[in-house]
């Protein structure tokens, strides 16, 4: 009984919070935008700015994985592989062909997406854990290829002097905060992409697959196709992020893309709240800032990090921001208008 | 012997049992009838400890067993043969039965139980080494009941024992229920086959969307027009 009561209370809390946000969404969005755009002028050191960029990078990675894991319910333990493909492809395009960042990044993302499709095809008949295992193997194989295909990837020596993006004749760097703003733009675009997808029949198809695949099939959803699509989109986003990462860090090697990265991304997704977009930002903010903030713990900080993951799963497995919206469903504008009209025309549509 | 008072159970947000109370006396066969989803299995689950109850309590022989874990409830002498049989498909008949007597330490008693069950179900004896998954539906049901009997329960709960069985097998199962009862085991029965269930029971409760809507003597209930209409489609 108590439990239900408490559930009711927290529902109310969420509703109040959400109505508040809804009511003041313009000022809230304005202030957040202002803060984000103004961060570089607040006197933060480059070190802090860099952490902000890393948070942005991991937000993008989490958003990418979230499409696959959070919405479609397919757990990937090999996203470092797509990340690496994006990073290496983009770097090679700009190093060897002199492609500019935009072209290189799209090239990286497209190749990652193609690999996403290739991985998805054989894995779609696999269920749950087995699918995760194949993605894990994929991540390791990508690393092996990066190490051994010396002629192209430069093997363990890695790629260095990856050029920084230039836009409108301006070279974007950490110092002039160009990289920061580019990150903001990318995060905004990817967030927009995710939002648009989720709030459409495609997003509903993804979610229905996660919720009950058989029922989804019985509603006529071509689940194989949508699972493959989720893989492709997820890999695409991850690939773009890889390209951005490479040009920011300037030097990549196979060891930049280990299994640890894959688990970090998935930890962020779960930590923030699977199947929510807001959660990805908080998740990466916390998990990326964590090792930095807790540097004073020295040796113990990764013990504590592990502990945080364990405790989190124990006490809040739905993630920090993993609540379900309690606001009414947002009807499309056209629907609202026609409903208003119908109300005037009385209740003729009350029957099928 | 078993007393349930004001039991409330939720499945997620579904209020499956809405404050039901009932009682079973030693030596009785009591059946619980009602349509699919009325809450019959939830009731058994709550007694056996499979389903957590939100409020109310269950006492067995004056001992409070509300929300005890299932394995401890078995030790007290309550045994459930679940719906859909739920035998261990990859284990042999013998192993399945052996698991039924998991709580028994005494070797002699265990072999007595084996003898009793094999006497009741000679078919199972013929298939000792066969894995349960290869048995026919009727044989699996026998195995499930036999398995539940292995712990020598005081109270045996059967969830839809006639489900999916051929008419002659159904008859046989109900004859068995009567003979098990005559050997001294109290039985709580869930059955869709209301006619059959009422024919072997002393008393019955009728469940309807989480509430007990009727209760009484089995014969009277069998002749009650409301029961006939709702569950037998006659009248």
């Amino acid at each position: 009984m108590d439990k239900n009561l408490e559930k009711g209370k927290s529902k109310n809390f969420i509703l109040i919070l959400e109505s508040f946000i809804e009511k003041y969404k313009v000022p809230i969005a304005g202030v957040s935008a202002l803060i984000l755009l103004g961060l570089p002028f607040m006197g933060f050191s480059q070190y802090i700015m860099r952490i902000f960029i890393m948070i942005g990078i991991y937000s993008m990675l989490a958003l990418g994985l979230n499409i696959l894991t959070g919405y479609t319910g397919l757990v990937s333990l090999g996203h470092a592989g797509f990340y690496a493909i994006g990073a290496y492809t983009a770097s090679l395009l700009s190093l060897k062909l002199g492609a500019n960042f935009l072209v290189a990044a799209i090239g990286g993302a497209v190749l990652a997406a193609i690999c996403g499709l290739l991985v998805s095809l054989p894995t779609l008949r696999l269920k749950g854990t087995y699918l995760s295992i194949v993605t894990l193997g994929f991540g390791e194989i990508v690393k092996m290829i990066l190490i051994n295909w010396d002629k192209v990837t430069n093997g363990t020596l890695g790629l260095k002097n990856i050029p920084r993006p230039s836009m409108f004749g301006l070279k974007l760097t950490l110092v002039n905060n160009g990289m920061y703003y580019l990150m903001l733009v990318l995060v905004a675009l990817i967030t927009l992409l995710c939002t648009l997808l989720i709030k459409s029949k495609i997003g509903r198809a993804f979610m229905s697959i996660k919720e009950d695949e058989l029922a989804a099939i019985m509603m006529g959803i071509k689940t194989t196709r949508y699972k493959a699509l989720a893989f492709v989109i997820s890999a695409f986003i991850t690939g773009i992020t890889g390209a951005f990462y490479a040009s920011m860090i300037g030097f990549i090697e196979p060891n930049s893309f280990t299994f640890d990265i894959s688990t970090l991304i998935i930890s962020i997704v779960i930590f923030g709240g699977m199947g929510t977009i807001r959660g990805m930002f908080l998740g990466s903010a916390i998990l990326i800032a964590f090792p930095e903030v807790f540097r004073f713990l020295m040796d113990y900080r990764f013990v504590v990090y592990g502990l945080v993951l364990v405790l989190m799963m124990r006490f809040r497995p739905q993630g920090m921001l993993g609540w379900k919206s309690q606001m009414p469903y947002k009807l499309p504008k056209l629907v609202k208008e026609s409903l208003k009209k119908n109300n005037k025309d009385n209740l003729k549509t009350q029957q099928i | 012997m078993l007393k349930i008072s004001n039991l409330n159970t939720f499945y997620g947000h579904i209020h499956a049992l809405k404050g039901i109370s009932m009682e079973i006396k030693k030596g009785e066969v009591v059946s619980l009838i009602g349509s699919n989803g009325a809450g019959k299995s939830s009731t058994l689950g709550s007694i056996a400890g499979l389903v957590r109850t939100q409020s109310g309590n269950v006492t067995f022989m004056d001992k409070d067993i509300t929300n005890m874990s299932p394995h401890n409830i078995v030790k007290l002498g309550i045994s459930l043969s679940p719906e859909g049989r739920e035998v261990f498909p990859a284990l042999t008949v013998q192993e399945n039965l052996r698991l039924g007597a998991y709580t028994k330490k005494d070797k002699v008693k265990m072999s007595e139980s084996f003898t009793r069950v094999y006497d009741l179900f000679p078919r199972l004896k013929e298939r000792i080494k066969q894995t349960a998954g290869t048995l026919s539906g009727g044989e699996q049901q026998m195995l499930a009941i036999g398995r539940a009997l292995m712990s020598e329960p005081q109270l045996l709960m059967l969830d839809e024992p006639s489900l999916g069985l051929a008419p002659n097998l159904v008859l046989m199962i109900f004859e068995l229920i009567e003979s098990i009862n005559k050997q001294g085991t109290t039985i709580l029965l869930i059955e869709q086959n209301a006619n059959m269930a009422l024919s072997v029971s002393h008393r019955a409760y009728v469940l309807e969307t989480g509430n007990i809507s009727m209760t009484g003597n089995a014969k009277e209930l069998a002749n009650d027009p409301r029961v006939k209409k709702a569950y037998l489609g006659i009248g």
Binding site: E6, S45, T156, G158, I249, F251, N255, F294 | -
Partner: protein, 385 residues
């Protein structure tokens, strides 16, 4: 209850994060805003946690020892010196992030580190952009010091060392059939390539590489590679790796072929090689620039002191870190200022006589040193005269 707990947890974490960021910001801005304070800081960056933490910790130990000696003599330029350790987990990403942190502290004149080449190279551009001196005691990637004018390397350049090692295999041991087993890292790959090239140049004398096997770091099982080398008829194995490769390879190889001769590199020179290798590393030879058993009194006091304080013999890399700190401090003293550009010039021009011999940087900011040939005898390192 649970919900409350989790909300508290959430809040605590969020607050912690922001408080942490804010705290740090104010800290750094006050430092960068005001004038440099009364201490001179030297950053030591390397893996303090994770798989290679022993190296990072060795760097810190060495740096502390050196700094204490200076502080005992009133520091440098009348200021106390402070060692600030930074953990990069041996990851490029972390290192790059730390580099940002280091360069935002105006009291830090230079950095000793990082450990692996790849990691050092990920951090180097930041140091270069911000004109902070980086001296890596361990980076070995051929391109490392070319990353910028503030980037120095106090580790031997592979070409010279490779030649020294090869010389031992061919001339001292008189072997002709060379097998190479190398670790698949930037250093291992480039070193083995150089060894191979050198062997080809000597082909006329009948020396040849019979087989070359690349192994992954931390595989622990080297038997497939060893089986191949052995089948190819190698009579000497040049083992390009740290102690954690040389010791197990020697062990596993000697089980198959007890007569095999093994030649290593200075990176493998550490107490742990003896601990880990035991009998199997008896007779192992390699060139080093630092020899802990040296009769040189300077080295002796250093080694004794280190042993007393940390309970083990310092490795070559640790000693190079020790000298690197010395070089940096000496340069500050010479420059007479903490102006980084001037200190940099002083480092570039330095002639430093340390425990790892005479250190001079060439125009590529690499060091040139002479090698001592060392072998293992009765569980100890012994110089070959």
């Amino acid at each position: 209850m649970k919900r409350k707990l989790s909300i508290i947890l959430t809040l605590a974490m969020v607050m912690g994060t922001f408080a942490g960021c804010a705290g740090k910001t104010s800290g750094t801005s006050s430092q960068s805003g005001g004038k440099a304070s009364g201490t001179i800081k030297i950053a030591v960056a390397g893996p303090m946690t994770g798989d290679n933490a022993e190296y990072g910790k060795g760097f810190v130990n060495a740096a502390n020892m050196m700094v204490e000696q200076w502080n005992a003599k009133d520091g440098v330029l009348g200021k106390k010196i402070e060692v600030v350790p930074y953990d990069d987990k041996n990851s490029g990403e972390e290192a790059a992030s730390i580099a940002q942190k280091i360069v935002s502290d105006k009291d830090i004149i230079g950095v000793i580190g990082h450990f692996a080449s790849g990691v050092s190279m990920a951090a180097a551009p930041t140091y270069q952009e911000n004109k902070v001196i980086e001296i890596s005691p361990s980076a070995s990637h051929p391109d490392y010091s070319g990353m910028g004018t503030y980037i120095f390397r106090n580790n031997t350049v592979i070409n010279v060392e490779a030649a020294a090692g090869l010389d031992m295999a061919i001339n001292d041991l008189g072997k002709k059939n060379i097998g190479i087993i190398s670790i698949k890292t930037d250093w291992g790959t480039s070193t083995s390539a150089i060894v191979k090239k050198l062997v080809t140049e000597k082909a006329s004398t009948g020396v040849k590489v019979v087989a070359h096997e690349e192994v992954m770091e931390g595989s622990d099982d080297y038997s497939p590679a060893i089986t191949k080398l052995n089948a190819a008829g190698a009579d000497v194995v040049i083992c390009v790796g740290m102690y954690n490769l040389v010791a197990p390879v020697s062990k596993q190889y000697k089980q198959v072929n007890p007569n095999i001769a093994v030649v290593g590199f200075s990176n493998a020179y550490s107490q742990q090689l003896l601990d880990l290798g035991g009998k199997a590393v008896e007779g192992l030879r390699f060139p080093v620039i630092f020899f802990s058993g040296s009769e040189n009194p300077k080295v002796k006091t250093y080694v004794d002191e280190y042993k007393k304080r940390f309970g083990s013999t310092p490795s070559a890399l640790t000693s190079q870190a020790y000298d690197s700190v010395g070089i940096l401090l000496e340069a500050i003293k010479t420059a007479g200022t903490t102006d980084r550009a001037k200190v940099r010039d002083a480092v570039a021009a330095i002639k430093y006589d340390g425990v790892t011999g005479n250190t001079v940087f060439n125009e590529k900011r690499d060091v040139q040193k002479s090698f001592v040939k060392v072998t293992v005898k009765d569980g100890k390192f012994v110089e070959i005269k």
